[in-house]
Every structure is written in C-alpha cells, then in structure tokens.
C-alpha cells in the first residue's frame, strides 16, 4: 500500500513545528507574572482560566516513554494516558526520558473527577504540583446536574481569582466565551471540508492539528486554523491526493473512543497507511472538544455549566448522548466504517464499546474495535485487523 500523501499546506508545517516556540512563549509569560494552568480533560472550561488572565496548557500525555516512570508509583493496569501524564509530571523534564516540557511550567493543575483512575491519580499528583480537583455530577441529565456543576464552577472561578489575583468579571467571561466559540466554529468549518468526497486534509494531519491545541496558545491556534482553512478552501475540490485513482476507493472511516493526545498516532497511521481515510474523530481530540458551542446570550457561568456538562464522556451515566452523536456523525460525514478506539484499562470506553457496536450494527455500519496502548508491540496485530476491515469495506 502506498503511503498516504495528502495535503501539504504551509500552515500544517507551522502547526507541527510550533512546539518549542510555545515553550519560550510560556517562559516569557511566566516572567511577566502570568500564571500557567495545566488541565487534563475537556470538562475544565478554558474560558474561566483565560478570564482570570492565566494561560493554559493541556497536559494529557500521549508519549510512551513516560509510562514506565509512572509505573513506579501507579498500578500497571490503568490507562496509558494517565500514566503518561503522571510520569511526565513526576519526571518534570529532568531525567533523560522524553516527556513534554510543558509539564514543568505549570503553576497549578486543574483536575476533574471523571474516571476512577484519574481521580485517584490526582490525589498523588498533589505532591508534585498544586492540584485542584473540580467535581462533576456523574448523571448529567436534568437541571440538578447543571445546578451542581454551576456551583462547582463558581468555586473554581474563586480558585482562579486567588491564583492570579485578578477578578473574573462577567464582561471578561463573555469575551472569552465568544473567543472560544470562534475556535469551535473554525473547527466546524475545517471538519465541514472533510465531508467532501475528496477531503483536503488527511485524518492523520487533522489529528496532529487537534493535538497541537494542547500546546498552542488559544490565539495562535485560532490564527493557525484560519490560515489552514483558507489554504484548504482554496484547493480545488478534486485536486488533492484524493483524485488519484488508488485513493478514490479509500473507505471513509470514523475513529470513535478514547482521546489521542500528542504522541499517540499509532492507530490513525495504521488506518491511513493501509488504505483507509479518516474523515472524522468522535473523541476528546476530535468532535467532543468543540461540537457544542457555549450560549453567548445567557449568564456566562450558567451557559458554561450547561455546555460543559453535556460533553458525551463515558464517565457519565447514562451516556446515550454519545451514541446519538456517533450515529449523527456517521451520517453527516458519510462514513463507511467505524474504528472503535479504546485504551487498555479504560473501563468506561471499553464497556461502552458494546453499546456503540450494537448501535452501529443496527444502523448497518461496520465497526472494528481496537484496544491498545502507546507501545508499538501490537502494530502488526492491529495492521492485520485493519487490513481485513478495509478488505471488508471495499
């Protein structure tokens, strides 16, 4: 199978190479007295952090190297994402192990009560970095959940005010909501282009863009998206690698499941190198992060509580919203098949797999489930399943 050679937009290069520039930027900000907040999950509203005048970096880890460091402290059988993040925080960029340098720069981590592995790990994390845990109601439907979450967000706002010494005003919050919504709308536009018969951007590239959201500042990310969209929109609808003969038969794939933070691109690489074309990701590093906007006309804190509590994460019960969303995305993006991607020991998504599979089967959409970690030991096995899946779809 020939390798997927999709787009080569200049912005894409910029986005991919932005890593070290961001570290310098953060160091400058710190010197100027700005506080840096690390988050590990979509449930923590950026808007509140930004409104308090702090910057934020997302610390969800995708690198395998930090996993073994974490295993000195944590049980082996929890998900690699948590081990990678924790390993990077403990390691703090000291030893020779490759881990993200951003972890050493944060003044505070704002964590959240989601899955068991995360909340218990956060208890240990406090020894290495100041950690604040935001509580989430686990049954998101109904007004009581919103009310509870709103209270939690108000507490969190207070914590941010304390950390930065700045008051979070309604005006500031409104401004940040508009700004974050802009990013979300840009992502919607970019994803819309992938609905084309020949998407101008490969799934692998798109995932790398989404991963950069973790490290780029909100402004730089937005700017990069704008230029990327311009470049992508200007490409003729059929002038992409997609018009090549061998490419026209690529099955359109949706990846659905666990997050794919920076460093973990194993499965999308296998899929696209073996004939598939990823057109949408139902994931925290995909639609789940931007699909819903925040209502700009409501009281900002209430609007935030309402939007964030709706994120269809498997920590929530029931989580039927996610199933509906998957079916809707499958239709909108005209997918031929779904790869249900889960991390080893992520019980939430692994258990939810059954419902996802049933729903897709009933809708007549083929699904392949892959459970993996960040190591390369199963590349061949996954390759075989993906080969067979592609043969089945074409």
């Amino acid at each position: 199978m020939t390798h997927f050679e999709a787009t080569c937009f200049e912005t894409l290069d910029y986005i991919k190479n932005s890593y070290s520039a961001r570290i310098c930027q953060l160091e400058e900000e710190k010197k100027a007295g700005k506080k840096i907040v690390g988050t590990l999950c979509l449930f923590v509203p950026d808007e509140i952090i930004f409104a308090a005048g702090a910057d934020r970096v997302i610390l969800c880890g995708g690198k395998n190297d930090a996993v073994s460091i974490a295993e000195q402290y944590l049980p082996r059988n929890i998900c690699p994402l948590i081990k990678s993040s924790f390993g990077s925080i403990v390691n703090n960029g000291y030893s020779g192990v490759k881990s993200c340098s951003h972890f050493g720069l944060v003044d505070m981590v704002v964590a959240e009560n989601t899955c068991d592995s995360k909340k218990k790990t956060y208890e240990l994390m406090g020894d290495y970095v100041p950690t604040y845990v935001l509580d989430l109601p686990q049954k998101p439907e109904g007004p009581a959940a919103v009310k509870y979450f709103l209270e939690e967000l108000n507490k969190f706002k207070g914590i941010m005010e304390e950390l930065t010494g700045n008051k979070v005003t309604v005006e500031q919050l409104k401004k940040e909501i508009i700004s974050s919504n802009e990013t979300r709308k840009l992502l919607h536009r970019l994803y819309d282009l992938r609905k084309r018969e020949y998407p101008p951007i490969s799934g692998l590239d798109m995932i790398k863009v989404m991963q950069k959201q973790y490290v780029l500042s909100a402004e730089d990310f937005k700017e990069a998206l704008r230029t990327l969209i311009n470049e992508a929109e200007q490409t003729r609808a059929d002038s992409i690698a997609g018009s090549k003969d061998e490419f026209t038969h690529r099955p359109r794939i949706m990846i659905s499941g666990c997050p794919m933070p920076g460093g973990s691109t194993k499965v999308p690489e296998i899929i696209e190198n073996r004939g598939g074309l990823i057109v949408v990701e139902e994931s925290c590093t995909g639609t789940r992060s931007f699909w819903d906007l925040v209502d700009e006309n409501k009281d900002p804190m209430t609007a935030l509580a309402e939007r964030y509590i709706k994120i269809p994460c498997s920590c929530m019960t029931p989580n039927d919203r996610r199933i509906d969303n998957i079916l809707e995305l499958a239709r909108e993006f005209k997918v031929d098949g779904v790869v249900n991607y889960t991390l080893q020991f992520c019980h939430g998504y692994n258990i939810e797999r059954y419902k996802v599979q049933q729903a897709l089967k009933n809708a007549g959409i083929p699904v392949l489930s892959i459970e993996t970690d960040y190591s390369d030991s199963d590349v061949e096995q996954i390759g075989l399943r993906v080969d067979a899946f592609m043969e089945m779809l074409s």
Binding site: S377, L384, R385, A388, E391, M392
Partner: protein
C-alpha cells in the same frame, strides 16, 4: 489460470496451487526462522508435485503473519479474507468460520462468501495453538495425542486460568495432586473451547460454521467445541490450507497480477 496461494503463518507455511479453481497440489511445512525461504520452498514443492513450470504460473498471492515479507508474491491479502474465500469455496453454505492457528484465533461472520464481521483474540495466547502446545508439554503428551486423550476422559479437570503461563503451572499442580492425564487433557481442551465459544457468541455465529486452522486437526477440540456451542462444525479434510487456498482464489477473483 494457474494461481498459487501462500499462507505464511507463525508456526507453519502452507502453499496451495490452484488450476482453474481446483486444488492441484499443496505443501505444509514449519515456518522456522526464515519466513521467506519457507515460503519459497513450499511454493517450489507445490509446483514440482503438480508438475507445473514456474513460468506458467499466473499469479502468487500471500496471506498470513508473514504476508508482507513474501517479496515474490504479486499481492498480499489478510488472513481473514483469505480464510473466508477458501472456506466458502469448500462449503458455499457457510455463515461463519472459526480459525484457530498457532498464535491467533479468529472468528469470522460470512454472508455470501463475504466477510461481514470478525473478531480476533488480543495479544495473548489464550485460546490459540500456543496454549495447547505449552500445556501439552507440561502434561508430557505429544500435542497430536492431546485431543484423543481428552476424549477418553470421564471427568475433565477444571482449568481456571486463561493465561497460558498460569495454565501451565495449573497443569503441573494438578499432576502433583494425582489427577489422571486424560482428565487434565480434557480440562485443557474444555478451557480453550470455552474461550473460543465466548468469541463465537460475541460475533453471533449460529449455524453452518466451519472450523479450520492447524488446531482443527485435533479431533478432541472439535468435539468439545461442538458440545460447548451445541452445533456441528464443518471441518475440511485439510483444515490447515484454507488460508492459502483462499489467497490463490483471491488472485483469481481479482485477476490481479
């Protein structure tokens, strides 16, 4: 149309020569360390057996674990598709396939000769030929005899561990406790049958199911699996070569060269 399929498996390499849709020769040999020479030798032996000259071969198609390293093949196809085509050729009525090989077990759901769903065991030897190989060793019984030994058991021992390594120590402790060899053998086979049956139910296979792969040669497993699933299974006379056969037929169907 002369087409050759090579199934380069982790334990054995199979070559099948197909002339106009009919099996003309086949060859089964241990894979050993060198995938490529096993494939080459198997291919050449099959040709010699059928009395066919290399230059008359229209296409060579590879499948199996080493499929992408068989450089002299024209195209590679996954084992899932290959087994399906091979089995469908032998039994056009099949709706499902159980393939237990050296390292993998695969359950395939089939409709009109096409794969509609499949499931494979994860990074683990439980429910594969390897499981039998290791535990048979611990029992000091040649693997070929494990099945027939199991069939004489009246009271299968219970083997609770799914992990090959732990099952091996379980066998040793059962031996130490004085269990009969046939009962331990039956326990082992029952445990693999149970494991495979779980996967079969997950995929939802109900009837017209074929059982192929090296492990299908073991009569004991077939009996236990049938009991566990409560259906009768088709086992081809040479269950090890359906992958290679399917690969050869794949070439014919795609007319790829």
């Amino acid at each position: 149309m002369i087409s050759v399929g090579i199934d380069s498996g982790s334990a054995t390499t199979k070559a099948v020569l197909v002339i106009d849709g009919r099996i003309a020769a086949n060859n089964i040999r241990p894979t050993g360390f060198d995938f490529l020479s096993a494939a080459k030798n198997g291919y050449e032996d099959a040709l010699t057996n059928a009395g066919i000259d290399k230059k008359d071969v229209n296409g060579i198609y590879a499948t199996g674990y080493g499929r992408n390293s068989i450089k002299f093949a024209d195209k590679a196809v996954s084992e899932i598709t290959a087994h399906t085509m091979g089995v469908y050729h032998l039994y056009p009525a099949v709706n499902g396939i159980i393939d237990i090989g050296g390292q993998d077990s695969k359950i395939i759901s089939v409709s009109d000769g096409k794969v509609t769903d499949f499931l494979m065991n994860d990074k683990c030897a439980a429910g594969t030929g390897k499981f039998l190989e290791y535990t048979a060793k611990a029992l000091e019984v040649p693997i070929e005899e494990l099945g027939s030994l199991a069939l004489v058991s009246k009271e299968p021992a219970s083997i609770t561990s799914m992990c090959t390594v732990f099952a091996e120590s379980e066998v040793i402790s059962l031996r130490a406790r004085g269990f009969k060899k046939e009962d331990i053998a039956a326990g082992l086979i029952e445990s693999i049958a149970r494991r495979v049956a779980v996967m079969v139910r997950q995929v939802g296979l109900k009837q017209n199911v074929a059982f192929v792969g090296g492990v299908a040669k073991n009569a004991g497993i077939k009996v236990f699996l049938e009991k566990e699933l409560n259906i009768s299974l088709y086992v081809p006379p040479e269950p090890q070569i359906t992958g290679a056969l399917g690969a050869a037929l794949y070439g014919v169907s795609k007319k790829v060269k």
